[in-house]
């Protein structure tokens, strides 16, 4: 919190200092900062938490992969704070902080706009405020919050995002308003982590069923750190349910899988690849769309070593699309 204080406006700075909030840690409980999966050992700075040194980040995450553009996603508890006003103040500070401390430092860096998700009105206002800066290329939300993402209360956020060509980046994790599984609270972080991919299935069911992609036909969503290989089974089941009970959601004009292929993108870390290359090939065929996968280093999280971020056995043309073309198409503001 300390680093954000200079980026708060006068009122909120005084407010935060009065309450001593700058001494608290509002990191997300859903993302334990020191868990091995969240800190790759050779990406850990000598001082401070992983990812907090912009120079090191550029050197490791950008130079290391010869990256043309990299999108910074600040995973912070600001968007989970219960007070909408405080949440919005922290989000504004984070967005101004990331612009000054990261984007100004390296022309390859881009960022996502962090928004107070539990107030659609304030979130839309923050999108409008930051959209002027074209280095912000996406809106960042958590996969699990108070309400399923597709609920109509959230639509002002989608409306603003679509207006400015900003995809909605949905990151793994939860504000823990509810247990991360519908069976209740698991015991282990490993269980939470595995549950993120099942949460994304719920996110897609919500976005599609509510008609988000009918109302906002240009909107794209990017599922980040979601795993990839769960997608075919989700498609088969969602399509089957839709065929049986589409009378409940008559606004849908095509199958859930087809909405996903048009509007949903997934980052490739972690991939959760099958053990064999032929199985991977089959999963890619089942996904049935070369446009859906986007490269991500997931820096500084630890899913792979060296620069070995893609699963073995990807076809060359798909690799090219994953590394470059799909991202340029998904994020129109990268080409501005």
């Amino acid at each position: 919190m300390q680093v954000l204080v200079p980026y708060l406006d006068e009122y909120w700075r005084a407010h935060v200092l009065m309450r001593g909030l700058e001494r608290d840690n509002y990191g997300l409980a859903a993302v334990p900062a020191n868990a091995p999966i969240n800190v790759r050992p050779d990406w850990k700075p000598a001082k401070g938490a992983a990812g907090t040194d912009p120079d090191l980040l550029c050197q490791q995450a950008l130079d290391g992969f010869a990256t043309r553009f990299a999108i910074c996603n600040v995973l912070h508890g600001a968007q989970a704070i219960f007070s909408e006003d405080l949440s919005a103040a922290f989000c504004r500070a984070i967005n101004d902080w990331v612009a000054a401390e990261y984007l100004d430092r390296d022309p390859r860096l881009r960022a996502s706009i962090v928004v107070p998700m539990h107030s659609a009105e304030l979130a839309a206002r923050e999108i409008e405020r930051k959209a002027e800066d074209t280095r912000f290329v996406q809106v960042l939300v958590l996969e699990m919050g108070e309400l399923p993402l597709g609920r109509r209360q959230h639509w002002p956020i989608f409306r603003a995002a679509e207006r400015f060509d900003l995809p909605i980046g949905i990151h793994a994790g939860s504000s823990f308003r509810h247990p991360p599984t519908n069976l209740g609270w698991p015991s282990y972080y490993l269980e939470d982590y595995v549950a993120w991919s099942t949460g994304f299935a719920g996110v897609l069911n919500s976005l599609i069923s509510e008609g988000v992609f009918v109302e906002f036909p240009r909107l794209k969503v990017v599922l980040m750190e979601s795993g990839v290989t769960w997608l075919p089974a989700w498609m088969w089941r969602a399509n089957k349910t839709w065929r049986g009970i589409r009378a409940e959601v008559p606004w849908l004009e095509k199958s859930p899988a087809d909405y996903a292929r048009e509007h949903v993108r997934l980052t490739v870390q972690p991939f959760d690849a099958p053990p064999r290359a032929d199985q991977l090939q089959r999963v890619l065929e089942e996904i049935g769309c070369d446009d859906m996968l986007l490269f991500a280093s997931d820096y500084p999280h630890w899913h792979y070593d060296g620069t070995d971020a893609l699963p073995d056995g990807l076809p060359a043309d798909l690799t090219r699309k994953i590394l470059v073309d799909n991202a340029l198409k998904t994020y129109p503001r990268l080409s501005l």
């Binding site: 868990a35 698991p186 919500s206 075919p232 089974a233």
Partner: protein, 370 residues
């Protein structure tokens, strides 16, 4: 896909010769008072005055209204007298048991709902009553039907008493637990119940359901049945994760479970994901001695309905192969709207040996039936 179904000729002869085992059949009462003969007067009185109290919004309807009358029944399954689908043995014989030459039908009663009851004494009484009702009204009249022991996981002593009481009674083949309880089933507090199942020779049927009060997604309550229905696989994924990662199968090596009414196509990718992230976080779970996928292979069976329908039908075979042909058991879910018809459900030819396993052999072995 629908065209493919319509174009295919019924396959009844082959499969009726198989005499398949149906791992998910739902018997119903004609009226809630049908359980009264099996309830002590104290609880009959309670049912009349206070009634069922679960953790969902409505007193006697599901949170998500279904799309056909009778909370989602197959529309042609209503008995002539207007009583509830699944409540008439003769109709069940005509539409299911005799129609397909079913060898055995595993009953999964969704009535009484003792497992959901917040008053656990009442819940335990409802479970015991549902067990007596299954045995007397169904198994004794139709030996092809097998009963599932109902328990409430929130009252350990009563659950264990009920399991021990039914042990050795060949009419009961398994213990049925609605997995959406207060906490994930792998948590330590449930181990005495899981131990009792294994100790008394019962596999556990984890049929979707339960009214935990937790939203069906980690991001809150969805709006539509169109979201609730496809959330069942996610429930099953959390269930497998909990049982495996908590170390249940390390602690109870002879425990066997079958997942019912959640489909199965999600299981391979869940296994890949579990194995991948277990390797990074294994220090957190030192009680695990094998890869998560190995526990899954050794302890978990799946039933098929509602069977996933890949856009390329042959992809189903790869899914079966990954899970293991000896781990998959056919189920219809009669008389629900989304039941699978054994003639049409699998839209790709299966070799005869594997077909025998899937429709019959695996279930006979799993339940120790002839």
């Amino acid at each position: 896909m629908n065209v493919t179904v319509l174009d295919r000729q019924p396959d009844t002869d082959t499969q009726s010769q198989l005499g398949f085992v149906d791992c998910d059949v739902h018997p119903y009462t004609k009226s809630p008072s049908d359980l009264d003969p099996f309830l002590p007067e104290r609880w009959r009185e309670h049912r009349r005055t206070i009634g069922a109290r679960s953790r969902s919004a409505f007193s006697a309807a599901p949170n998500y209204p279904r799309m056909s009358p009778g909370t989602g029944m197959r529309t042609d399954s209503w008995p002539a007298d207007g009583s509830h689908p699944g409540s008439d043995l003769d109709l069940m014989r005509a539409q299911l048991l005799d129609a397909f030459g079913v060898a055995y039908g595993m009953m999964m009663p969704l009535l009484g709902r003792g497992g959901d009851e917040r008053n656990v004494e009442f819940g335990a009484a409802l479970c015991a009553a549902a067990n007596d009702w299954q045995a007397a009204l169904w198994c004794d009249r139709e030996p092809r039907l097998k009963a599932s022991v109902q328990i409430t996981t929130e009252y350990t002593e009563a659950a264990i008493r009920e399991i021990e009481k039914r042990a050795g009674d060949r009419r009961f083949t398994q213990v049925m637990i609605p997995p959406r309880g207060l906490e994930p089933l792998g948590r330590r507090r449930y181990w005495p119940i899981l131990e009792a199942c294994a100790a008394n020779g019962f596999p556990i049927a984890l049929h979707l359901g339960g009214t935990s009060g937790h939203p069906s997604t980690g991001g809150g309550h969805p709006s539509f049945y169109h979201e609730e229905h496809p959330s069942y696989p996610q429930s099953k994924e959390a269930l497998v994760t909990s049982l495996v990662i908590e170390g249940v199968f390390e602690h109870i090596p002879n425990l066997r479970v079958v997942l019912v009414e959640g489909g199965f196509a999600w299981l391979p990718s869940l296994s890949w994901r579990l194995d991948k992230h277990f390797q990074r976080l294994r220090a957190e779970v030192p009680h695990l001695k094998k890869l998560p996928s190995e526990y899954i292979r050794d302890h978990i069976w799946v039933s098929t309905q509602p069977i996933e329908e890949p856009e390329r039908p042959q992809d189903l075979l790869a899914t079966f192969e990954w899970i293991g042909w000896d781990r998959i058991m056919f189920s219809t879910d009669y008389p629900h709207w989304d039941q699978d018809d054994p003639r049409y459900a699998i839209k790709v030819p299966i070799p005869e040996v594997e077909k025998q396993k899937l429709f019959r052999g695996n279930a006979l072995a799993f339940y120790g039936l002839d």
